[in-house]
């Protein structure tokens, strides 16, 4: 690091190294500083966003006429507490809608992993599903 750079770190002007003050380093005169500012130019800025994919609308499955006599799967996604919440729902169905056959299952793998084996089993053996919990 040379002396000029070192002095700049101290906040001192490199002009200190010169044999006499460098006029170009001096502050502008008050007259120059109070000169009226020109209007700011106008510019255009580009949109920085990426390109989202289109959304394919998916129709919801036809609803059941009733849950009476139907098999409802309670699926635990794996977030902490979800299984306990679903257990309370199972108890609610037993008490309030005893004709509903309730099956509890925790999906395989962490919450963000798909579980196609379970989805197929539910489609084959069930009538409806409740998934919990999105936390």
């Amino acid at each position: 690091m040379n002396r000029r750079t070192l002095l700049s770190l101290l906040g001192a002007s490199p002009a200190l190294l010169a044999s006499r003050p460098a006029e170009t380093e001096q502050a502008p005169s008050p007259a120059k500083a109070t000169k009226a500012a020109a209007p700011s130019p106008k510019v255009e800025g580009l949109n920085p966003k990426g390109t989202p994919p289109p959304i394919q609308l998916i129709p919801m499955a036809r609803r059941l006429d009733s849950l009476n006599g139907k098999t409802v799967w309670l699926v635990d996604t794996g977030f902490e507490g979800g299984g306990m919440l679903l257990e309370q729902m199972r108890l609610w169905f037993n008490q309030n809608m005893p004709t509903v056959n309730v099956i509890f299952r925790r999906k395989a793998g962490p919450y963000m992993e798909d579980d196609p084996v379970l989805w197929k089993e539910i489609k084959d053996k069930g009538d409806a599903a409740i998934m919990a919990v999105g936390h």
Binding site: P41, P52, G81, G109, M131, H135
Partner: protein
């Protein structure tokens, strides 16, 4: 099959936006109070017997109706919906007003940006031989389908971040990885990029004194560009939508940009460990929770400075879910080499064998419950074996030896080191984007 999701109240906006982006904007969602975790059965029973806090309706009645009330016409819609992100340009207006416009529309990190005019972006595009309309990659901000982006779209963000054209290939390499630096998780993630090769000197990157501080334009601007790329090109970092980190992470401003101090290191640089040649320019990405400093340089005393033990002590407070990244000053690296660690691999072997935990401590961690336990149930190792062991059994801190990485960084003013709770994800060629 009729299906209905149960979501906690804190995730209302996320749930509504998520199902809309996935094509079911009217999906019938029932909400519970938040949180569900760490509640007693009695408390959860009260949730079930109570009302949906969003709709105010009895929760179980709402669930039953979600599965049985006939569909409305808008719930049976099909078709393709295009999504607009607005006009190609904003203005004309003053730079000051445009600056505020970008802030107001959350397209910045809320620090001043350089307005991305056609002229500025054109100059940035001179930094690569790739055509402006070439698709660079896709990136998902949150748990949504990914957005795509071109070379020009990346250039716009590089301008905003304050990059020079010569930095652009590195930004493109990061963008091409599809790795966002803003993670949707409720944990507040941090990201790191290790840059290796001659480009570090070509760009005047700082890998000496204060390398991780705000003391060099390429380190600062490249890291900032990664965040703006994640924000704008992937729609990441929208609190309540694509970002749910409870506390946030200050490192997200410009991430950890680590230009490894290859000249002062006694070991092969990281990119060579990952299979690249020394003369190649490469960026390697890491993801995790952050980085913490060691507790002072015992090596300055006359005692034998067992740095490997200090590293291990530091990592003993980390979750092993993320990898361990040792960031060691060259003074430490030289000392370790003198003491027999003539390769990074020897140090990694020692750390893997000697940084341990009990099964009880392991199981107590949130990440173990949410990620490793389900893997154990699926029979994946080592999780299956670990979950079958007694609580007082001692197991490695990390599932795999490769979870540990070492880089050398710093100006040798202090035998200083830091430890990252950071997992290696991918290495990308920068040269490909020149």
């Amino acid at each position: 099959m009729p299906t209905t999701p149960i979501v906690t109240q804190a995730f209302r906006d996320l749930a509504i936006l998520n199902v809309a982006k996935r094509g079911m904007p009217n999906l019938r969602i029932t909400f519970t109070p938040h949180p569900v975790a760490a509640k007693t059965p009695a408390q959860l029973h009260a949730y079930v017997e109570g009302n949906d806090p969003v709709s105010g309706k009895p929760m179980m009645k709402e669930i039953v109706e979600a599965l049985t009330v006939p569909l409305r016409a808008d719930e049976e819609k099909t078709g393709l919906v295009e999504v607009s992100v607005g006009p190609v340009k904003y203005g004309p207006d003053t730079a000051k007003n445009l600056q505020q416009f970008y802030h107001d529309n959350a397209m910045t990190d809320f620090l001043p940006i350089l307005i991305p005019t056609e002229e500025e972006v054109g100059e940035m595009l001179e930094g690569t031989s790739h055509p402006p309309d070439e698709v660079v990659g896709k990136m998902a901000g949150g748990a949504y389908p990914p957005w795509s982006y071109t070379v020009k779209q990346v250039a716009i963000n590089a301008v905003m971040a304050g990059c020079k054209p010569e930095y652009f290939p590195t930004v493109l390499a990061i963008a091409s990885s599809g790795t966002p630096s803003l993670m949707s998780s409720t944990n507040s993630f941090a990201y790191a990029a290790v840059i290796n090769g001659p480009i570090r000197d070509k760009l005047n990157m700082n890998y000496g004194i204060g390398a991780l501080g705000p003391f060099a334009q390429p380190n600062a601007a490249i890291g900032r560009a990664w965040t703006l790329v994640s924000r704008n090109l992937a729609n990441g970092g929208v609190p309540g939508d694509t970002y749910m980190g409870s506390q946030g992470n200050n490192l997200n401003y410009n991430n950890l940009i680590i230009a490894e101090n290859e000249a002062a290191s006694p070991w092969v640089p990281l990119h060579v460990q990952k299979g690249f040649k020394a003369e190649e320019n490469v960026v390697s990405l890491f993801r995790g929770l952050g980085i913490v400093p060691g507790q002072g340089a015992r090596g300055t005393s006359t005692d034998t400075p067992k740095y490997e033990e200090q590293f291990s002590d530091l990592f003993s407070v980390f979750t092993g879910f993320f990898g361990g990244l040792v960031v060691a000053d060259p003074l430490i690296a030289a000392n370790l080499k003198e003491r027999g660690y003539d390769t990074k691999d020897k140090l990694i072997d020692w750390l893997y064998k000697n940084t341990t935990q009990t099964v009880k401590d392991y199981k107590s961690r949130d990440f173990a419950y949410g990620f490793d336990y389900p893997r154990a149930l699926k029979g994946l190792e080592p999780y299956k074996t670990w979950y079958a062991m007694p609580d007082d059994a001692v197991i490695p801190r990390w599932p795999h030896r490769d979870d540990i990485n070492v880089v050398v960084l710093g100006g040798q003013t202090n035998a200083f080191f830091q430890g990252g709770s950071l997992s290696y994800t991918v290495s990308v060629s920068i040269d490909k984007w020149t």
